[in-house]
Amino acid sequence: MNTELKLHSLTALFNTPDEIIHAAEKISSEGFTKYDVHTPYPVHGMDKAMKLKSSKLGYITLIFGLSGAAFALLLMYWTMSVDYPMIIGGKPFFSLPAFIPVTFELTVLLATLSTIIGMLTFFFKFPDNNNPLIDSDYMKAVSSDKYGICIYANDPKFEKDKILALFESLHPAKTSEVYFPEKTRYPSLEPKFLVMLLVVAILTSGVTYITLNKLLYIVPFDWMLKQARVNAQSKSDYFPDQFGMRKPVEGSIARGFMPYEYKDQLQQPEKPLTNPLLPTKKVLELGKSKFLTFCSPCHGNYAEGDSRLNGQFPNPPTLHSNKVREWKDGNIYHVITNGQNIMPSYASQISREERWAIIKYIRVLQRAKNASDSDIILSKKESALNGTK
């Protein structure tokens, strides 16, 4: 025996489960506290023999399981009702029944992972491959088919000779002494381990970087995105003139846009168009607004030919003349569309519907200017009804 080595523990091996139970009872009743029983499988009744308190592991499970449930519910509440509330299927933002599955899964996940990690690290202090017992003949025996008991040298009642005598009284198959290794090794400071840590760190960060910044943006096939087609205003060798953009076929018209039949015709048409609009309040208001914008600068606010342009542009005649009053709506439309004398075409500024609305408004102005007696009586009646003078 090498006496310079520090003693770690004294061990004894037994052949049957009954013997080990008996040995454990004996040693725990002798008052030893730093001892352990090693068996290839859990032997029933050993907790009692070793006078062990029941495992406290369940508390970890409980605490983390409840945290998992709380985390899941809070996460779902916050995302679905606070951060980005969205109505889905007409359900409330916080729809508890639909949140149950995820809550359950996260409860189970956190509870199990914490139980295992807590047990291995907090209760067992694993990983612990440096323990002097490991690789000893004693460990090889209890790993297979023997039942062992060992008393550690740091037990307050540890006395080598007394313990060996105690072991002998239990008739063990074998006793042995386990020593600490000659030199204390610090595997976590070995260069090999440090290099491994570095490699793991580089790999982890690299994979994370690639996943988050590259992998999520990869477009492996893009032929729906990039098809053979002519882009607007670009060259194309397909056509002899190399113009990508083509003129429409002669005579084609835009959808829903019938061209004006008398465009660029100087004379008034023989069969003028009829006004498609009714003189509703909405139409008249549109007409008034467009008349004041486009027509009134020359024709005057009341269509009397009193231009605001102070002679910078020739004044047009009044629209209250008999000629214009007797014109059909289509005649006025013709003038707005094509222009007349020095009045230019307003077809590009005023849409068709707006032109018809302006004509309706001109009719209102004409009637107001040339009101008949019956009109005056009617308007007085209306004023009285509305309570105005």
């Binding site: 489960p17 009954d18 139970i21 352990d36 029983v37 090693h38 068996t39 290839p40 499988y41 859990p42 032997v43 029933h44 009744g45 050993m46 009692k48 023999a49 070793m50 369940g58 995302t79 679905m80 980005y84 969205m86 889905i88 299927g89 359900k91 639909a98 949140f99 599955p101 995820v102 899964e105 996260l106 189970v108 996940l109 509870a111 199990t112 992972l113 139980t115 295992i116 047990m119 291995l120 209760f123 067992f124 694993f126 990983p127 612990d128 491959n129 323990n131 490991i134 460990m139 090889k140 790993s143 297979s144 088919d145 996943t211 988050l212 992998l215 999520l216 990869i218 492996p220 096939f221």
Partner: protein
């Protein structure tokens, strides 16, 4: 036949010494693999490669390579997903539910069944990923803070699926690993090969078979079993929600969750029996995985098969009882329409064939049970096919009715998933103890003290 039911039959036949058990279980890992092993591995990896090529084509050209199209938008992808998740359920059931029910016979088969769970869930996990067509965007399935300020829809069954399957995989893996730690320590102490010793040492974490550890270990195992039991029920329930929460006639039924869970156990046990029959013969584990074990599993197959049969009948009854024309049409169409062939394969394989297990001789005859469990596997695959395809192919608009035809790529991916599963199973048999050494040692006769420390 006189059987004395008052005496519990020994779980392990004979009364082998603890060291013998260890030697038998460790042998496949300590011997060089035989020629047969390499032939088997060659076949499975070829299947795997075929699947990989088909997957590559799918990724390159898009999922237009598959047969699904309007109106059958879900085809082999979802069929295979549900099939594989179902296979996985047997492992957790054996390791967790039977543990809580104190069924000692589970010890011989639990490790293998758990490994099959993990491999089956791996196979299953492929399909939801690839059926999106953009599997590299799978990160979007998880709620993580992003610059778009978007979150996943927590009220969607498809999202529940993500959580259920990933939790299930994680918990199964942890459960399996925890069971492996003492065995890895035993392997560490057996081997003299330095490389093996390093690997076993790293993964056994310094396990010393200490009773102070065993005490917490047993507690943890029980807690995990307690969580895995509702978990296994929740997973297939949530998978069934993918269908049941929709408003498609043929899917929108409240019987789906229990029906799916029963079907999962049914198919899972069938798969476990299929593989165990080979494993016990090849590795000489007949006295550890005994005929009694197989018979008990066959009984479970019989029971769950009848549950599934009840669900088939009840679906038809409710379709009639609801008085809903469309609902009635879907079910009559299912049994007598264009997919009647699939429906009747399903019924005969899942309901009629397992009835042979009423006969004790059939339950205890290895060749006969092989035929039956393989037919059950086929039937259960067709069950998912019938549910997915026959409910979709004649939708509300008769002008868009169609007939779903899978392509060679679809079959290739299915074959590939079997290749992956059996490759992993083969590698597992050679690298880890296929039977839990410490658990089997604990249930051998005479392994526990005679007076239980009283």
């Amino acid at each position: 036949m006189d059987i004395d039911y008052s005496v519990e039959l020994p779980v392990v036949e004979g009364r082998p010494a603890l060291a013998d058990i260890e030697r038998v279980i460790a042998r496949p890992m300590e011997e060089k693999p035989s020629k047969k092993f390499f032939i088997a591995l060659g076949i499975t990896t070829t299947m795997l490669l075929f699947g990989a090529v088909c997957l590559g084509l799918t990724f390159f050209y898009g999922i237009g390579m598959w047969g699904n199209n309007q109106p059958v938008g879900w085809g082999f992808d979802i069929v295979n997903f549900v099939f594989w998740v179902g296979i996985g359920h047997a492992g957790t059931l054996i390791s967790a539910v039977l543990f809580l029910l104190r069924q000692k016979w589970r010890t011989g088969i639990a490790r293998f069944a758990e490994a099959m769970t993990i491999f089956a869930v791996m196979c299953a996990g492929i399909f939801p990923l690839i059926h999106t067509g953009r599997p590299w965007l799978a990160g979007y399935l998880f709620p993580y803070p992003n610059q778009n300020g978007l979150w996943v829809n927590f009220t969607s069954p498809l999202l529940w699926d993500v959580f259920a399957v990933s939790t299930y995989f994680t918990v199964s893996l942890v459960f399996w690993y925890i069971g492996l730690i003492p065995d890895l320590a035993t392997m560490r102490d057996r081997t003299n090969n330095p490389i093996k010793k390093t690997i076993y040492s790293i993964f056994s974490l310094g396990w010393r078979h200490s009773h102070r550890h065993w005490q917490h270990y047993e507690k943890a195992y029980m807690l995990l079993a307690g969580f895995a039991t509702p978990l296994v029920l929740s997973v297939h329930t949530i998978v069934s929600f993918d269908f049941a929460v929709s408003v498609i006639p043929g899917w929108h039924t409240t019987i789906f969750p229990p029906y799916f869970v029963a079907g999962a156990i049914f198919s899972g046990f069938a798969m476990v029996v299929t593989v165990l029959v080979f494993v016990r013969t090849i590795f000489n584990l007949e006295h550890i995985i005994t005929l009694d074990h197989l018979e008990k599993m066959n009984k479970v197959i019989l029971a769950t098969g009848m549950l599934v049969g009840y669900a088939y009948g009840m679906e038809f009854f409710i379709a009639w009882y609801s008085g809903q024309d469309i609902e009635r049409f879907v079910f009559i169409n299912r049994a007598f329409g264009p997919y009647a062939w699939a429906y009747w394969i399903m019924v005969s394989c899942n309901v009629l064939v397992p009835q042979f297990f009423w006969i004790r001789k059939v339950r205890r005859s290895v060749p006969l049970m092989m035929i039956i469990v393989i037919l059950v596997n086929v039937g259960m695959w067709f069950e998912r096919f019938v549910i997915v395809v026959s409910s979709l192919h004649r939708d509300f608009l008769p002008s868009s009715w169609g007939y779903y035809k899978p392509t060679i790529i679809d079959f290739g991916i299915l074959i590939g998933s079997f290749g992956l599963f059996f490759t992993l199973v083969l590698l597992f048999t050679k690298s880890l103890p296929v039977v839990s050494i410490s658990e089997v040692k604990a249930v051998v006769e005479g392994a526990q003290p005679s007076h239980h420390g009283d």
